[in-house]
């Protein structure tokens, strides 16, 4: 080989060889994100509308809505997650095969939204599992979902296979499954998964 060892190591450090595989790898995953056929509330209707004739999410290769979590890559949490439903949502997320992504669609999935004051409403799905993209809106328009989808694609493109910034599923130390909350006598137990969701500071 014409490249001397030192240069190779140097390039390896900068990730030249790794980068080419990485690009192919990222391209493959980003171009074929199959969402799970999973809707919770109002936003699910907009999610369906996104796949329909006018907006056509299929253009991105994402119309294959798989009903089985094993075969899906993307979970669109479309709608209000109630405390009764939260264990099932987390379980479905655990059942999905890596690499998996989550889009929290709509105000309810992000923070409880207009129903935040409700006693049975989970105040944001990111209390229990990591979310990649949040879409604001109540409900977000289909264009917003497409935008979120493209944001997710950009995010996948920027993933490194090794090193510090690698995604969770490539990190052997990161948890593969998240604790499924148990419905308790008054509330879900635990109220949030520590480690997934650092409790933020209230700015007064």
């Amino acid at each position: 080989m014409a490249i001397d060892q030192e240069l190779k190591i140097e390039m390896g450090k900068q990730g030249v060889f790794v980068t080419t595989i990485q690009e192919l790898y990222n391209w493959g995953r980003r171009s074929s994100v199959w969402p799970m056929q999973f809707g919770l509330a109002c936003c699910a209707i907009e999610m369906i509308a996104t796949t329909m004739a006018r907006y056509d999410l299929a253009r991105f290769g994402a119309e294959v809505f798989r009903p089985s979590p094993r075969q899906a890559d993307l979970m669109i949490v479309a709608g209000t997650v109630t405390k009764k439903m939260a264990p099932q949502v987390v379980r479905l997320y655990n059942q999905m095969a890596e690499p998996k992504y989550v889009i929290a669609m709509g105000a309810c999935a992000i923070s409880g939204g207009p129903f935040k004051q409700g006693y049975n409403v989970l105040k944001g799905i990111d209390r229990y599992m990591p979310v990649d993209v949040h879409i604001p809106g109540c409900p977000p328009r289909p264009e917003a979902l497409i935008q979120a989808f493209m944001t997710l694609q950009k995010k996948i493109d920027s993933h490194h296979l090794t090193g510090e910034g690698r995604p969770r599923y490539l990190d052997p130390d990161a948890p593969g499954e998240f604790k499924v909350p148990e419905p308790g006598e008054h509330d879900l137990e635990p109220a949030s998964n520590q480690g997934v969701w650092p409790v933020p500071v209230v700015i007064r």
Partner: protein, 391 residues
């Protein structure tokens, strides 16, 4: 020149093989053929998935995939890459070995059934005397793998899907075999190249395809119905009916194993379309006598793709049947009608050639079709209704 193009793959193989000692040549030739099949059909599978997604899209007023590569052509590549790099989940209390073997068995047996299909003039891997029998034997192994998949997953939906699939496939295998036997009766051989050769001559410009005879048309119809059911395609896609039992027997499969099921399903479609084309539509022979200069393998693949388009069209338009209706349809309509077709084929075989046998066979089959169809609807008390209004 046309003959060269027609035989270009055979010539290429012979040229490659002649470098080897003569004793090794048959084995090497067969190996090259296998490589050809293993290379061509997955490629065709990739194209077909794209065709299906785009075709369905057009039927539904939308575009279909068009962002990945030019016109979305690289979409299947991306899907394949994704499937390869996806985590392989085996459920905790699944039977690991069976879980692994099921997709492999399915793909391998489907590939083996391609061995006897003549894909062009002299383009069959093995010219087996009992080629048709071999084909059906390999097709039957699909049921085994489906049940392996459903059983080993230890999931209620998987086992329900597998049960449905096995029941459905066994039921429809019978009429499919019967309608193929009609062809065997006329062609006088179980060897598929000989069946094609029997159809490869012309009256004027029109070919002697079996589908253009009354019994052949009836048999082709029954064969088509059975083939759709065998490949679990809409409207007979109950084993993986996603609105009822999630994804059927492959509910618990992810990553590449799931992709293998997907591959096997489409390969099954190709195989059965190829068999149907071979039996009823003249295989690789041209549809008109003045088109015989076009290479035979082009005709074969064109006809197969035509059949695939019909599959896609059906999927885009029809709702799904129910399990008991499906079984009733198989045992109360398709099977008796196939038997009748067999009988009419015997008439055809022994009546003297002439317009009389055309009339006799056509009348018997048409009357039986109408009567049986009407009876089925009458028994179910199903039909259009009228509605009243209140002011």
């Amino acid at each position: 020149m046309a003959a060269t193009f027609d035989q270009i793959f055979i010539l290429f193989r012979n040229w490659l093989v002649h470098f080897l000692p003569p004793a090794w040549q048959p084995a090497a030739g067969a190996l090259l053929g296998v490589i050809g099949i293993v290379a061509v059909f997955p490629g065709l599978f990739a194209l077909t998935t794209l065709l299906e997604r785009k075709g369905l899209g057009r039927m539904q007023n939308r575009y279909g995939p068009n962002r990945v590569g030019p016109f979305g052509l690289l979409q299947p590549v991306a899907d394949g890459l994704k499937a390869l790099t996806k985590e392989d989940v085996v459920p905790f209390n699944a039977n690991g070995l069976m879980h692994l073997l099921a997709p492999l068995v399915m793909v391998v047996t489907v590939f083996m059934s391609f061995a006897v299909l003549p894909m062009g003039r002299h383009m069959e891997l093995v010219d087996m005397d009992a080629g048709l029998l071999f084909f059906f034997a390999m097709g039957a192994a699909t049921e085994l793998s489906v049940f392996m998949a459903g059983w080993s997953s230890r999931n209620k939906y998987s086992i329900l899907g597998a049960m449905r699939a096995v029941a459905q496939m066994i039921s429809y295998e019978v009429p499919m075999l019967l309608s193929s036997v009609a062809v065997v009766m006329i062609a006088g051989s179980l060897s598929l190249p000989k069946v094609v050769a029997a159809q490869n001559h012309y009256t004027g410009i029109f070919p002697h395809w079996y589908v253009f005879t009354p019994w052949g048309f009836g048999a082709a119809l029954m064969f088509a119905i059975a083939a759709i059911a065998e490949t679990n395609r809409s409207p007979f896609d109950l084993p993986e009916g996603e609105s009822e039992i999630i994804a059927g027997y492959h509910t618990e499969y992810s990553g590449f194993k799931f992709a293998l099921f997907f591959l096997a399903e489409y390969l099954g479609m190709f195989a059965l379309s190829g068999l149907g084309v071979t039996l009823f539509m003249g295989g690789w022979s041209a549809p008109f006598s003045f088109l015989t200069w076009i290479p035979s393998w082009i005709w074969f693949f064109a006809k197969v793709m035509l059949a695939i388009c019909v599959f896609i069209w059906m999927r885009g338009t029809l709702p799904r049947l129910r399990q008991d209706q499906l079984m009733n349809f198989a045992w109360k309509f398709v099977l008796p009608y196939s038997l009748l077709v067999l009988l009419v084929t015997a008439f055809w075989r022994f009546l003297p050639p002439g317009w009389e046998r055309w009339v006799v066979c056509t009348v018997i089959l048409a009357v039986a079709y109408v009567v049986m169809g009407r009876a089925a609807f009458k028994l179910k008390r199903v039909g259009p209704r009228s509605y009243r209004y209140a002011e």
